[in-house]
Symmetry: C2
Subunit: 428 residues, 2 copies
């Protein structure tokens, strides 16, 4: 069979690990499979490159600050979302994967195998959109196919492509997962293995719930919900690609050979399982606006302004309060809290009489995910019962087709997760 | 005018220096010139990348040594001149210049300029030959020209190109000089500036002879002789390119704006200057074979064997001694001395009765270079007189059209250099 194996930065973080990966890949080939490898940069390398760019930029700012303005008067403040800058940034940070790809190919050769690394134009991966958060539009896999069919192990630099003008582009954080799944789709691989430092996808975080159980398989839809919720085993775009192009993905450990979790299309029998997993997210913050005038456009004003500042809002709840007024609560990533507050304080709404704006970063969001919810009522009700038995107060609830999310006080987050994991019998 | 400026690894060795280079380049553009920049990797970066490759290889050897042979029996010793390995090696080490090119483009942008870095396929530099010591065969400069004419500063990654199959290739040590001159030829630049940590080309090494004088100009032929002789300001292939394509090269300091040395085609008035410079080379060793049978083919046997082992022989002297026998002396790089001796000891000649082989690494070679020698006799004679006055014994002499090389005992090397520098009035 033809398999794509993707190894993350930790798996190639030292020369010893690069060699171990080379051995594993070679063993796989010797077992009779054709192997295409996708690698991330060595752990720490991408950060080193980013630090160079930031260090350079900081030099400019220091100088501007100490000298006031340059004698020639043309030291412009750098716009970080300048496309020219982003082009160079991608050119810079993409070198990390080029290095690890070449090293892995060498290591395979050292062990007696045949290997070639592919980067940039050699990959045939064409993107569009921005330089630093590019989308894959096409893959010309002829080169990869030819090499693989000649018995060579092909090592692809992850995270990168070229746009149609030939500029180097990058796929955003975790982009190597997306590279792997997209390449697997392009070469019609029988499997795309994501080799990582965990054993697979669990019913919940095993560090918090020791009885968490590794799932043998999970649907794309469930994985999409879990990937967006702190179960950081796989980039969400990679799951979307896998779903769209029907690529069988196998998340497994890079440290041993045991089976991990297969991410598969939904099948009817999956609905027999009510809940696939529960996830905890402690990285959100809650903002409450009370006593807003209940007139059309109030919500639109807030979320348009936040959208323009690039803040991604997660949960939104609006309740009519006393007549003519409304309360509104929503959550944003904690990292965006400051930006969110300054945006809201700049709105006319926030200045209106009686309106108060309250931020609370001490929250935890627990999400219950499962395709079985589509056909089974009562998941939310059972969750509320479980939490009530533990005396945990519910602050917010939002539901989607296959997910129920509940916000509680941060200090009850882990307790709630354990209770729900047990309540839905996920450890069994 | 259109100028190519090449900055070496020391000039971009820190972020502060990258910024200083950016400022210099931008000042040049603002003075009204169009600028194309060629950069080396940041000082130390290429060595870091080579250390990664060597470290990986050493892991394989350690394992092979400690475990005898691998249980599967297929751990082959790595052939370092394996093309597959060399391909990956070039892919790896060429990332250093990609990083510095992107950083320099960013730094120019930070200072308010427009810049773009070009790497790999974006450069249009096509090579042939080996992966790690490739030769430039063509340059498609359309992309560079278009960018420059749009007012953008183009920053090219030096040292690298692509072969016709699209593999990354590198041009060998110091290859960025060659990149710069070749690109200057391709875009018909008015000047190719090599910016370095010395002020230009001197009549001799200023660290040894304080009265050494910077030359305002020097011919390609003289520079070729000096470049091959320890005056390491410019890679010899770069000078050959400059000569072949008539590229005006200007070697100057990256630290200040003073004029350096212009490398120019020979003009008649240059012959009025007898000697352009004297150079000292302490990196050679001398091998003497005495009492060789004086039959045809003796010399051929020795030098054919050395050529096959990749040893580059510099000076060769043969003297007939007593009837039917001959003595032969030649020099090789000290780094190749061991290989040279083992090669000679393996020849039938070395086993012949009476033949002795003597190696001497304690020698110094002084070379006197100048196109004026073509029309003026007596340079060798004056050199011998100068050395005799200092009581320095001459061990070997060889002459070419514009060069006289003299081998002396190593301990007299600096004294000889100073005496010849004064004797030919080079400090005046």
């Amino acid at each position: 069979m033809l398999v794509v194996q993707k190894f993350g930065g930790t798996s190639v973080g030292t020369l010893e690990r690069v060699r171990a990966v080379a051995q594993r890949v070679l063993d796989r080939q010797r077992s009779g499979d054709q192997v295409v490898v996708v690698v991330s940069a060595m752990a720490g390398e991408t950060n080193r490159l980013i630090a160079l760019a930031n260090g350079l930029h900081a030099l400019g700012q220091d100088r501007a600050q100490t000298s006031g303005s340059d004698s020639k008067g043309w030291v412009a403040p750098v716009k970080r979302d300048d496309p020219d800058f982003e082009r160079e940034y991608s050119q810079l940070v993409s070198t990390g994967e080029k290095v690890s790809a070449a090293l892995l190919a060498m290591a395979i050769q050292d062990l007696g195998g045949r290997a070639v690394s592919l980067i940039g134009h050699q990959l045939g991966l064409v993107t569009s959109g921005s330089f630093t958060n590019a989308r894959i539009v096409s893959i010309d896999a002829a080169n990869i196919r030819r090499q693989v069919e000649a018995g060579t192990i092909v090592v692809c630099a992850g995270f990168q492509g070229l746009d149609e003008a030939g500029n180097v582009t990058t796929l955003g954080r975790g982009g190597s997962d997306t590279s792997a799944v997209a390449l697997a789709a392009a070469i019609r691989a029988d499997s795309c293995e994501i080799l990582t430092d965990v054993d697979g996808v669990f019913t919940t975080d095993p560090r918090i719930v020791p009885r968490a159980r590794k799932l043998a398989r999970i649907s794309h839809e469930e994985m999409l919900e879990l990937a967006s919720l702190g179960t950081k085993v796989l980039q969400i775009r990679a799951v979307e690609f896998a779903k769209k192009f029907n690529v069988p993905v196998h998340v497994r450990s890079s440290l041993h050979l045991e089976e991990g979790t297969h991410i598969v299309p939904e099948t009817p029998d999956m609905e027999a399982v009510l809940v696939a997993g529960v996830a905890l997210d402690r990285d959100e913050a809650k903002i409450t606006l009370t006593n807003c005038p209940d007139v059309p456009g109030t919500i639109a004003e807030v979320f348009t302004a936040l959208g323009e500042r690039g803040v991604v809002v997660d949960m939104i709840i609006q309740n009519a309060g006393r007549s003519g007024f409304t309360d509104m609560t929503f959550t944003v990533p904690q990292a965006d809290l400051e930006r969110t507050m300054s945006t809201i304080e700049g709105l006319a709404l926030a200045q209106a009489e009686g309106v108060s704006v309250i931020a609370d970063a001490k929250i935890a969001k627990i999400s219950i995910v499962g395709v079985g919810m589509r056909t089974h009522a009562g998941v939310a009700a059972r969750a509320f019962t479980v939490l009530a038995e533990e005396q945990i107060n519910i602050q917010m609830v939002s539901t989607s087709e296959i997910k129920v999310s509940i916000v509680v006080d941060e200090k009850y987050g882990e307790l709630a997760l354990r209770a729900l994991h047990a309540g839905f019998k996920l450890g069994e």
